[in-house]
């Protein structure tokens, strides 16, 4: 026992170095491409380069004849040839029909990666090309070619609230618009990759770059016909995900697992960048149609939204993405009557999947564009119009009829962002044009439903294990993954705070499906929340055994023990303390169980999918971004100079990681809004590289000013709310509104590439006559060679 107490500041809300800092700055983090085993083979995929065709035959003889090839597998070798996450509409290897570019004909395992990919190109598929459909609106037409099943409309989701026809009569202005919102590639710096290690024909281990080890476990077990317990998935350190490693990694994992199963060797599959861009899931392109009306005072009377979501050739997670898009279509505004229809439509384009924001960014972009159009028609300041309609504590029912928990901080984030950005000053005296550059400012809000939608609530639970080691250090395992967002560090922080020890005493290890129970996917900004709550539960259970031991050492009752500053001490008498190391040593000496499990599940909610009424999410986070841009109207170039981001975050767990999420969301959101264009030609990506698919660099990143609006919520562990997605969603919309402000024209197509802006300016373009001559023929199709930096 000691009376000398060094006050250790609590880790919550601080900036201690991340748990993985030393490994990452020394290059010693072992990503899956850095792992190799003796006898390991390399996998490659033979894939389709056309989007729609009948398969007449697949000839593997030339590939098999390659000297270093060990195995070539086709659909006939797959025990259960289906890989869809939710619906069984996607084969792992195609047999009769190609529905999108990237569909797999065959898998190759060879002694070198070079031989594997060379042999994969020798696989000959005999194809008869079929007509395809490449636009979600065109796909709905009666005479459109069918992509996958009896109808190209796979599902439609609805929100119906109030009488829009009646409310429309009270509207003084009505905006009708059609927005064409483009997709996006995740462009994580580490390509898809995994390593499959078979143990005879009994069981298999998969080490994968992924967000959702439990999805892979289920996918591999189903393809190989194994019980779940025979498939162990360990998450490798993951070089970025952003949703692209939620659903998709199950496919490469199943491919590598099949090859490993057939050859008996460990098999590693790493996607070359071009294939990664060409074949993996994308953010859904959407066509969003609006009819919104407001009265003279600016009050929103009605909003009608119809969205056509380009699911691509397989549903994947599209229905789940549509559920979020559907209830996010209005934003944090009070509207008299709402009617939303969200269609999930098959096309022969690359298939859509999870991507940061999950359907909400596209509909938010449209909603915030319409808000600005209404403001223009009403002659109101865009911020004023939002103030008239934004939700707050007195008016807190969203379009699904759910009454939000207080505090509702939409008005606060709006006010904070606008003030910090200097909105009023900018509007009162806009900066003069600086040479060719014209300046503009735009605003956007978001209402973000934290965690999983009602439709996925069966997955909304989380598991944790806490082990107190004999030396007082602590091992934590959780089921949710680290992909750069800082989940390991958040877990470390929560565990350290709960046990009253320094974060350096806590080691959180990468998830492994054999150490914790299925915790669902690491998505929906739920990582810190769900793992944190599970850790708190585990610590609570550990203390049932720890507190009596500490109490005995302290000479007090177990109920009086508190843990803080690295000590167990008597509440109210901090001088009576014993180091946690001593408590751990004592528990070990007495052979008391020092491992505890924890569990958390979100509250059950009621929701009616037919009307979209009820509580789709347990709680919400608000955010507001204000963007200041400079635009060169001659060249159509946009420079995003500053983004001011105000976020309703509950309580901060780790300040650096939180700010990092906001920085990343803003930069990625800006890229989506301005420069990242998926240029598809009959379903094939024509720009599958980082020269032509332009993601922001350090020179493009804007100045980012952050305002955190903290509040006491009972949401997450220690009051934290999710931040990963709300940080992304509003940026592109704010940038769009700022660009339109600068140019005085409306642009309803994302991204705002130079050709689009020049086209939108039309006769107002400074060199309109030249542009007329040069670009008119190219506007028939997407310009294939003009990029933002061309």
């Amino acid at each position: 026992m000691t009376s000398h107490l060094e006050p250790v500041p609590g880790p919550l809300g601080g900036r201690h170095p991340r748990i993985d800092a030393a490994a990452k700055v020394t290059g010693s983090t072992r990503y899956v491409a850095d792992l190799a085993l003796p006898g390991m083979l390399h996998a490659a995929l033979a894939t389709a380069t056309v989007a729609s065709a009948r398969v007449l035959g697949v000839d593997t003889a030339a590939a098999r004849a390659h000297a270093d090839v060990v195995a070539v597998l086709t659909a006939a070798d797959v025990p259960a040839n289906s890989i869809g996450v939710i619906f069984g509409d996607q084969p792992l290897l195609v047999t009769d029909r190609v529905r999108m570019v990237g569909d797999r004909f065959a898998l190759v395992a060879a002694r070198t990666a070079e031989a594997a990919w060379t042999a994969a190109r020798l696989v000959g598929a005999s194809l008869e090309e079929l007509p395809g459909v490449f636009d979600p609106v065109a796909a709905v037409a009666d005479d459109a070619p069918l992509v996958n099943g009896a109808s190209n409309v796979f599902r439609t989701f609805h929100v119906q609230r109030g009488d829009t026809a009646k409310q429309a009569k009270r509207a003084a202005v009505v905006v009708e618009a059609e927005y064409r919102v483009g997709g996006q590639d995740h462009a994580y710096l580490e390509p898809q990759g995994c390593l499959a290690i078979p143990e005879g024909r009994e069981r298999i281990t998969i080490v994968a770059s992924c967000q959702c080890p439990f999805y892979i476990q289920q996918g591999v077990a189903s393809v190989l016909g194994l019980p779940l317990a025979a498939v162990r998935v360990e998450q490798a350190p993951t070089g970025g995900g952003f949703g692209g490693k939620e659903d998709y990694p199950t496919e490469p994992a199943a491919c590598a697992a099949l090859l490993a199963w057939h050859t008996g060797h460990p098999v590693r599959l790493i996607y070359p960048r071009e294939l990664d861009l060409q074949a993996t899931t994308k953010r859904h392109a959407m066509v969003v149609r609006h009819r919104w009306g407001a009265d003279r005072a600016g009050r929103l009377r009605f909003a009608e939204v119809e969205t056509f979501m380009d699911a691509g050739a397989y549903v994947g997670l599209s229905t789940v993405v549509a559920e979020r898009a559907n209830v996010s279509a209005i934003g944090p505004y009070h509207v008299g009557a709402v009617r939303v229809a969200t269609h999930v439509v098959y096309t022969n384009n690359l298939f859509g999947g999870a991507f940061r924001g999950f359907g909400a960014p596209q509909v938010t972009w449209a909603a915030e564009a319409t808000m600005d159009k209404l403001a223009t028609r009403l002659g109101m300041d865009p911020v004023e119009l939002r103030r008239v309609n934004v939700l707050d504590d007195t008016r807190r029912t969203i379009c699904t009829g759910q009454r939000l928990r207080t505090p509702v901080l939409a008005r606060e984030v709006l006010d904070r962002a606008v003030e910090l950005a200097g909105w009023d000053g900018f509007r009162a005296a806009p900066p003069a044009a600086d040479g060719a550059w014209r300046h503009g400012m735009g605003v956007s809000l978001v209402l973000y439903g934290c965690n999983l939608h009602w439709g996925g609530q069966r997955l909304d639970r989380s598991s944790a294990v806490v082990i107190l080691q004999a030396d007082g250090s602590v091992v934590v395992r959780v089921g949710l993954t680290e992909m750069g967002q800082g989940n390991l560090t958040a877990c470390q922080t929560v565990a350290a705070a709960a046990l009253g020890v320094d974060p350096s005493q806590v080691q959180v290890w990468q998830p492994d499906t054999t150490t914790v129970a299925d915790s669902g996917p690491t998505v929906a900004s739920r990582g810190s929340l769900m793992s944190g709550r599970a850790i708190l539960d585990a610590v609570r259970r550990l203390r049932v055994r720890l507190d009596p031991v500490a109490a005995e050492l302290l000479g007090c009752r177990p109920g009086e023990v508190e843990l803080a500053g690295g000590f167990a001490r008597v509440a109210g008498s901090p001088e009576r303390a014993v180091a946690m190391q001593a408590v751990a040593k004592e528990m070990s000496a007495r052979r008391i169980e020092t491992i505890a499990t924890g569990w958390h599940r979100t509250k059950a909610r009621r929701f009616d999918p037919a009307t979209g009424q009820g509580a789709p999410y347990e709680f919400y986070a608000m955010a507001c971004h204000v963007a200041r841009v400079a635009v060169d109207p001659g060249l159509g170039i946009v420079r995003v100079e500053e983004v001011t981001a105000a976020h309703d975050v509950g309580r901060v767990l780790h300040r650096d990681a939180l700010e990092g999420q906001i920085h990343g969301g803003v930069v990625q959101g800006m890229g989506w809004g301005v420069s990242e264009e998926l240029r598809l030609d009959r379903g094939r990506l024509v720009n599958p590289n980082f020269t032509d698919y332009v993601i922001p660099t350090s020179a493009d990143a804007p100045r980012i000013t952050i305002a955190l609006v903290e509040s006491d919520s009972e949401a997450g562990p220690c009051g934290a709310k999710g931040i990963g997605e709300p940080s992304f969603i509003p940026t592109a919309a704010a940038v769009r509104n700022a660009v339109c402000d600068a140019l005085g024209v409306e642009v309803d197509t994302l991204p705002l590439t130079p050709p689009r802006l020049v086209e939108a300016l039309g006769e107002r373009h400074p060199f309109a006559w030249v542009v007329e001559a040069a670009t008119r023929p190219a506007t028939e199709h997407e310009p294939a060679t003009v990029g933002p930096r061309a």
């Binding site: 070198t112 710096l189 650096d656």
Partner: protein, 209 residues
């Protein structure tokens, strides 16, 4: 797409091999031609890969005698032959910067540099920035400023920062943003990266390398 080659996979029994071509120029001339003086390059020879050549590479202060195929990239040799996996493959075509190393103190994409070109030059990788057990000042600055998220681009970012600071010990923010723009970070950690480079510049002033 660069692919991982294998010893003796291809042979070039007749004609001018790339190896012979490079040999005739001499290592110095090759290096000069490929390390930034394009005016001195001869027209490219098209040739199949050939039998391995002996090469001596100076990496992180250690001399390695190796047999390499002339077409092998420096990135391939660092990772697959020397076990230095800190340099990351991200695109293998000189677009992302995850494989950035220093060659004679200047940042280079290892995926666009042939291993043979590096002969006679000093190669430094992320593993070479350690000072024994201690992190180098740039590494320390990246850790302290939380200048990474997923970490995959981080070794390349740190090497680019190291090269920038060797050339320009006290860069302005604008120079940092431009100087680091050859290295993509999809997590968007740029604001923290810029802070880290400034911090590293300060640290180096106080006696850092």
């Amino acid at each position: 797409m660069a692919r991982k080659p294998r010893d003796n996979e291809h042979t070039c029994p007749h004609g001018v091999s790339r190896r012979g071509f490079l040999g005739s120029l001499g290592a110095g001339a090759v290096a000069a031609a490929t390390l930034g003086r394009p005016g001195e390059t001869a027209p490219p020879e098209v040739a199949d890969a050939v039998e391995p050549s002996k090469v001596t590479l100076l990496v992180n202060g250690r001399r390695h005698r190796l047999l390499v195929e002339p077409r092998w990239t420096l990135l391939h040799v660092l990772r697959e032959r020397l076990g230095l996996t800190g340099s990351k493959p991200g695109c293998e075509r000189g677009e992302c910067g995850a494989c950035t190393v220093l060659i004679d103190g200047v940042p280079r994409y290892a995926c666009l540099t042939l291993a043979l070109e590096a002969e006679g030059h000093e190669v430094t990788t992320i593993e070479g920035l350690m000072r024994g057990e201690e992190l180098g000042p740039t590494q320390q600055a990246f850790a302290a400023e939380d200048a990474f998220q997923c970490g995959y681009c981080t070794p390349g970012q740190i090497m680019a920062a190291e090269g920038l600071l060797r050339a320009k010990p006290a860069p302005t923010v604008a120079e940092i943003r431009l100087g680091m723009s050859g290295n993509l970070c999809r997590c968007g950690a740029y604001p923290h990266i810029v802070k880290a480079v400034r911090r590293a510049a300060e640290a180096r002033k106080g006696g850092g390398r």
